[in-house]
């Protein structure tokens, strides 16, 4: 589904990603872990099409298409979804109006009829249960005055509505208490299918108790320096990142 080859990206001339290689197949969950500043969020942003990052080398093939060639909105319409680390508060735009616009623009791109108000409402109601989100929250301005947990839940709710093929969760667990974490993880797990794939970017192993990954990759200084299964996450939890850094330093010598 997604093939990343030798991806290099920089921001304002500073290289952040220095040659990422990754292959993701439908049905898989990949966790990207790593210390702060290793490039985890940059990878997520580059995949979603954030414009301040410049891709200097390499390619990303998504469903046979050059992903880097697509605008952020076309990536979304092709089924790529980024759950933001810091969801943006947008005063004056109601969540409902925003989501309906989004859904119908995605449908239009795919040559589907737009959803009328009634059908959209029933879609909302169905997905609301999934992340236990309150209707009152959705009648307010998008993310405005939401708590941290509410914002993250709203991200997963949007994901449920848009039904993406490739979801990228950028530190969705950060700052969540255990109850909120379980709700979010539960939502992600229910949306999981053999047709879609998920990239979970996280600093902590804790989330991976609830969203169990097929692969764990450790990102360090803009490269994937180690890959393994879920046990690698536990090892990182246990030993921290220093041993990885040492290992990298030794290989370099």
């Amino acid at each position: 589904m997604l093939t990343i080859k030798n991806l290099h990206a920089s921001i304002e001339g500073t290289p952040i990603l220095r040659g990422i290689n990754l292959e993701i197949k439908p049905g898989e969950i990949h966790a990207i872990m790593g210390p702060n500043g290793s490039g985890k969020s940059t990878l997520a942003s580059v995949l979603a099409g954030r414009e301040e990052y410049e891709v200097t080398e390499g390619e990303v093939i998504y469903k046979g298409k050059d992903l880097l060639d697509l605008s952020p909105e076309d990536r979304a319409r092709e089924g790529v979804f980024l759950a933001f680390q810091y969801p943006v508060e947008i005063p004056g735009v109601s969540s409902t109006n925003f989501l309906r616009t989004a859904v119908n623009q995605v449908r239009e791109y795919r040559g589907q009829e737009p959803l009328d108000a009634v059908k959209f409402l029933s879609l909302m109601k169905e997905k609301m249960k999934l992340v236990e989100i309150d209707q009152k929250l959705l009648s307010r301005s998008l993310n405005e005055g939401f708590s941290g947990g509410e914002k993250k839940r709203n991200e997963i709710f949007q994901m449920a509505i848009l039904d993406p093929a490739l979801s990228i969760l950028d530190e969705t667990d950060s700052g969540l208490d255990i109850d909120a974490l379980k709700v979010v993880a539960n939502g992600v797990n229910q949306l999981r299918s053999s047709d879609n794939a998920t990239i979970v970017v996280t600093h902590y192993q804790r989330l991976l108790d609830y969203i169990v990954p097929d692969f764990v990759h450790v990102l360090f200084e803009g490269r994937i320096v180690k890959s393994g299964d879920k046990s690698l996450a536990l090892e990182l939890e246990d030993k921290g990142y220093d041993w990885i850094k040492d290992e990298v330093a030794n290989t370099a010598v």
């Binding site: 952020p72 979304a76 989004a102």
Partner: protein
């Protein structure tokens, strides 16, 4: 008269020469003479004038307008008129044709509303030019010198109007560039509840200068809404002086939507004359091309326990320019005043400019006053967030800009009119933006 030689007063002097050639007579002779004296003495404001520093309208007028006396009404029938009306708006229609009250085109007013042409006024003539005086603004003086058959509107005590009164200014210049001096006086009785919508229709795309004065005397305990749409032609030069007296227990709310003109200057003054009254001033300006809109507002708190709220928002693109100047004056007596003011702007191009200035003068010590102004670009992070959900860049932009303006549009209480304004705003933001 002695020749006035200063360059920046050339407009008024050439006009004044013709004025003095035929000394005023009739009902408003005194007012006209007083205005003429002031204009002879002070002239029209130049860019050196602090109040007109950013808005060189006098220069624009000198370049575009050749006749400063009052223009005459023109022929227009109801069918033509109806093309310009707000669709679906059920309103009592009050038409001023190039500043002249047009009884035939106006609809019959409900019981309790009296409309009199200014030229037919009796004792009420004494009320004219008390709220907006020639001293306040030279252009108000020019209007005072030149106005003709404007209207005097009077609403009886306790009258609650079920429909708004739409004051329609029809404006049309001959090819020379004319001046229109509409003058309106509105007084409401006690506990009146009424909405006035004011709209100027440019019948063609010729340049004209519309220099209006509106005086509103709100009755005790009355609730008056005053909405204004400025969506004229690209050549229009517009100056408006609106003065409002707000007495005890009364509320006055102004909303101004500025969309198109060459240059517009609005002077709005609310005089909160007693306790427990409220004055609200809201505005949106969406500017493109080279258009220039200047809102100068002034609220005067004179007695304790009164409140004022002000929110103006602007979205500017191309090389348009916006000016906002908000004066809040709180007198020593006006303890427990609440006064809030906010001006926010989004600039969509490198060449768009906003000059914004809050001016607070507070002489009382127990008051709550706040003001703030922001000028910035569209939030890139918000734009990316919307796009990452599949919304096109153009739509995301329109959605964000509309949300920005929406906060002000919500203040419009009349539903049909609000929807109409929403439609105008969305059309503007959806197409080329700004």
């Amino acid at each position: 008269m002695s020749a006035v030689t200063k360059k920046d007063t050339s407009l008024s002097s050439s006009f004044l020469d013709s004025f003095y050639a035929q000394k005023p007579s009739g009902l408003f002779a005194g007012l006209r003479e007083e205005a003429a004296k002031l204009l002879t003495h002070k002239g029209l404001p130049s860019a050196k004038d602090e109040e007109y520093k950013f808005t060189p309208i006098t220069k624009k007028i000198e370049g575009n307008i050749s006749r400063f006396g009052h223009s005459s009404p023109f022929d227009i029938d109801r069918t033509e008129l109806e093309k310009h009306l707000v669709e679906g708006l059920d309103a009592h229609l009050l038409v001023l044709n190039n500043g002249f009250y047009d009884k035939n085109l106006s609809t019959e007013m409900p019981k309790g509303v009296r409309i009199t042409s200014l030229k037919d006024l009796g004792d009420d003539a004494n009320k004219i030019a008390k709220i907006v005086t020639a001293e306040k603004d030279p252009y108000a003086g020019l209007n005072q010198l030149a106005f003709q058959a404007g209207v005097f509107v009077s609403l009886d005590d306790k009258l609650v109007l079920d429909k708004p009164v739409l004051i329609l200014h029809l404006a049309k210049s001959d090819e020379k560039g004319q001046t229109i001096h509409p003058r309106i006086y509105i007084e409401t009785g006690k506990f009146v509840e009424a909405t006035f919508i004011e709209q100027t229709i440019a019948v063609d795309d010729q340049v004209y200068f519309i220099n209006s004065v509106e005086e509103i005397k709100v009755g005790e305990g009355a609730h008056i809404h005053h909405y204004k749409i400025q969506d004229e032609n690209k050549q229009t030069l517009e100056l408006s002086n609106t003065g409002v007296d707000v007495p005890k227990d009364a509320t006055f709310t102004s909303f101004v939507l500025s969309l198109q003109s060459q240059m517009t200057r609005n002077n709005l003054s609310l005089n909160l004359l007693d306790s427990n009254c409220e004055g609200n001033m809201y505005g949106i300006y969406l500017l493109n091309g080279k258009s220039h809109v200047d809102n100068h507002t002034n609220v005067d708190h004179t007695k304790p326990h009164a409140e004022s709220n002000e929110l103006y928002k602007g979205i500017l693109t191309d090389s348009s320019r916006g000016v906002f100047n908000g004066k809040i004056f709180v007198r020593q007596d006006a303890q427990k005043t609440n006064a809030f003011q906010q001006n926010n702007n989004i600039l969509l191009s490198e060449d768009a400019i906003v000059n914004t200035k809050p001016q607070l003068e507070i002489w009382a010590d127990d008051v709550k006053c706040s003001h703030g102004c922001t000028t910035g670009q569209l939030d890139d992070e918000a734009l990316f967030y919307l796009r990452s959900r599949g919304i096109s860049k153009e739509n995301a932009r329109a959605l964000l800009l509309y949300a920005f303006a929406g906060e002000v549009l919500e203040k419009i209480e009349n539903e049909t009119f609000r929807k109409y304004c929403i439609q105008l705003v969305q059309e503007r933001l959806g197409s080329k933006g700004g």
